[in-house]
């Protein structure tokens, strides 16, 4: 077990592409850290540099206090689970799991004990003599994990280990991974492009974009205090709603009425011109059916009438989609998020707003309804820098 420190690490590929740009992360011993971000943002490259599979162009990488920039993968004592699993097809499950131990010249009886133990933890005992070709996707995934845990390495690296499983199995395995890490207490760096996976698994999560770490913090912190519009739009499901807002006469003029900004925002905006446009962010869960909000709470927010275009009932909640009919908030980072999600209804995708209402709400498709929004939980972003003005 060991801590992993990335100290201003940069990766420049031979073709000049900068895949990882000045990344600094301080991963504590035993910590479960997630690297999350849209595809192509440099997550795998970062992980490969930690593993030693890619050279580090600039900066320093320390594992357990030792600089390892020049060390070959085999001398770093870390285990890795690949997205493709990369099981050795000509070896049985037992040999796959024991391969690293055999290379380390452990006696055969010890290898057997360790492999049997790992197989027991992962429910692989009946499959030990099979070849990977004769296993299901979930079993292959577990063999890949088993290959890592038999070794008792300094750290685990996992590159989207669940992305090839179907949705149900993915959720199941997610909890297994979590349990496994708790039990072993080994430092883990886990790459995913799925924000749900990131929030549920990580002690701390590094959100990456274009090779840079946008924010490295606990899931709660990322959710409550996103540093910029990219993190705000990436974390949370359904994604945060964004809309244009103008700052006029010390008040924020929104599509659903004027509100007074928080003191933090006021101090940030002091001196900026009247009529400046900003971007307002509201999470779907901070809307509510006005009929369900009681007196005292109601005063902390704004109530406004709207018409529900589409209503999705999910049992526990209802998702109401509506529009304000005004302008659309535009930002390069929002467009990037929308592209990554590959869907128009993602963050920044048009002027559609989604509100997550209680199941008790009487909202109906095509009908008018009064919605309430919690103004204390709104985010204001600088349209030029994308920075969150409230933090």
């Amino acid at each position: 077990m060991a801590d992993i420190v990335l100290d201003h690490v940069t990766k420049r590929f031979a073709d000049g592409q900068v895949a990882v740009d000045d990344v600094s992360l301080d991963i504590h011993d035993g910590e479960f850290v997630i690297l999350v971000g849209p595809s192509g943002c440099g997550k795998s490259t970062t992980l490969n540099m930690i593993a030693g599979l890619e050279d580090i162009s600039e900066g320093e990488l320390r594992i357990g206090g030792k600089v390892v920039n020049g060390l070959a993968p085999k001398d770093r004592d870390i285990a890795m689970v690949f997205q493709s699993y990369a099981l050795y097809p000509h070896m049985t499950v037992r040999d796959n799991m024991g391969f690293a131990l055999k290379l380390a010249k452990l006696p055969a009886d010890q290898i057997k004990t360790k492999v049997d133990e790992a197989a027991r933890i992962l429910d692989l005992v009946p499959y030990l003599d099979r070849k990977p070709a004769n296993l299901s996707g979930g079993q292959r995934q577990r063999v890949a994990m088993g290959r890592a845990i038999v070794r008792d390495p300094k750290a685990f690296l996992m590159d989207e280990p669940l992305s090839n499983l179907d949705a149900k199995l993915r959720v199941q395995t997610r909890t297994e991974v979590s349990r496994l890490q708790n039990r072993l207490g080994t430092t883990m760096v886990y790459v995913t492009h799925d924000q749900t996976e990131a929030l549920t698994l990580g002690d701390r999560v590094a959100v990456m974009r274009s090779g840079r770490v946008q924010q490295f913090a606990s899931p709660e912190e990322l959710y409550d205090r996103p540093k910029n519009i990219f993190v705000a739009g990436f974390i949370g499901s359904p994604a945060m709603n964004f809309m244009p807002v103008t700052f006029e006469g010390g008040r924020l003029r929104t599509a659903f009425g004027d509100i007074s900004p928080s003191p933090a925002v006021v101090s940030k905006l002091a001196g900026s011109a009247d009529g400046r446009s900003l971007i307002l962010g509201i999470r779907p869960e901070h809307f509510e059916d006005a009929a369900l909000v009681t007196g005292a709470e109601k005063a902390d927010g704004v109530t406004f009438p709207t018409t529900v275009d589409v209503l999705e009932s999910l049992g526990a909640d209802k998702f109401a989609y509506f529009t304000f009919g005004g302008e659309v908030a535009r930002h390069a980072e929002l467009e990037e998020l929308a592209r990554d999600a590959g869907a128009a209804d993602a963050a920044g995708g048009g002027d559609q707003v989604v509100a997550r209402l209680d199941a008790a709400s009487g909202a109906r498709e095509g009908e008018k309804i009064d919605l309430w929004v919690d103004t204390a939980k709104m985010y204001i972003f600088d349209p030029d820098t994308g920075a969150n003005l409230a933090v």
Partner: protein, 295 residues
């Protein structure tokens, strides 16, 4: 790579009361074509076999099945050191050339498939160029060079030109196989603690084994069948291979044609090729890499 899925046999086929006419005519066409191909390729072989069992007198009798069977031709060729020694040379030279070609070609093909280095395309193009180079044009220069270097009429004198033509073939075949092996397997091996050499030997090479066997067979056949170099770069029993030695067979008398002996020798040297292919057929066909990744 995805797992290979075997298409389920069409259930309707057998159950259908009357075979559809298109199915039948296609079957007929295929059968005809296949029969013609098999007949065309096997008749000369059978004819050779027949000749090898005929007595010298009955050779021109134009009967396909010999009237008088004899093993005299076989006894005759194995009785002369001309043939037995040539057989030894053939086996030795072909095996050594094949071994070296597969060994060197594996390394080169691996580099071609896996590494990015300047001049790679030039190198591959050059290899292809060599493999289509007319061999006969090398005979004269090699003849002179080998005499200067003392390689004339030696095993290395033949092994070297065989490698020249075996390597491009090997590099080509093997790099296709190496390209099919997922990169991640090697990365996984390295993270598991393997040196690059161990990763190659324990993970990559076993997966490329079908490719190596295929390559070995192709190179072996190429060396085994060569006549041009064998006849020009040898002069005695020391290194003369069977295809060249056959040209030196003499008949029972000065005027008799040694057709029976030639046929017998031809049959004998076909046997290793047949065995080689039969023995490794399964290896060649088996796709080992299925199940390496997700699925």
């Amino acid at each position: 790579m995805s797992t290979v899925t075997v298409p389920a046999p069409r259930a309707g086929r057998a159950a259908r009361p009357t075979g559809s006419s298109t199915d039948n005519s296609r079957l007929l066409a295929w059968t005809t074509v296949n029969t013609v191909i098999i007949v065309v390729s096997i008749v000369p072989v059978l004819w050779l076999l027949s000749l090898s069992f005929k007595t010298p007198a009955s050779i021109p009798d134009s009967h396909f099945i010999p009237r008088h069977w004899t093993l005299e031709n076989y006894r005759g060729i194995f009785g002369t050191s001309l043939f037995t020694r040539a057989l030894l040379n053939s086996i030795g030279i072909a095996l050594i050339s094949t071994f070296l070609a597969v060994l060197l070609a594996s390394m080169a093909a691996y580099a071609v498939a896996r590494l990015r280095f300047p001049g790679k395309t030039v190198l591959v193009g050059f290899a292809l160029l060599i493999s289509v180079f007319p061999q006969i044009s090398l005979v004269n220069p090699l003849f002179n060079l080998w005499r200067e270097l003392g390689l004339f009429d030696t095993w290395p004198g033949l092994i070297i030109p065989y490698l020249t033509f075996g390597l491009p073939l090997g590099i080509y075949t093997l790099s296709a196989f190496f390209r099919e092996i997922p990169w991640d397997l090697e990365k996984a091996a390295q993270v598991d603690g393997a040196t690059p050499y161990q990763a190659f030997v324990k993970v990559i090479a076993p997966l490329a084994a079908p490719g190596m066997v295929t390559t070995a067979i192709l190179v072996f056949i190429q060396c085994w069948n060569d006549f041009v170099f064998a006849i020009s770069l040898t002069s005695t029993n020391r290194s003369r291979t069977v295809p060249a030695a056959i040209a030196f067979f003499s008949g029972a008398s000065q005027f008799a044609q040694p057709i029976g002996s030639i046929a017998a020798a031809a049959v004998i040297i076909t046997i290793p090729i047949i065995l080689f292919v039969l023995f490794f057929q399964r290896r060649i066909v088996a796709g080992l890499t299925s199940g390496a990744v997700k699925g």
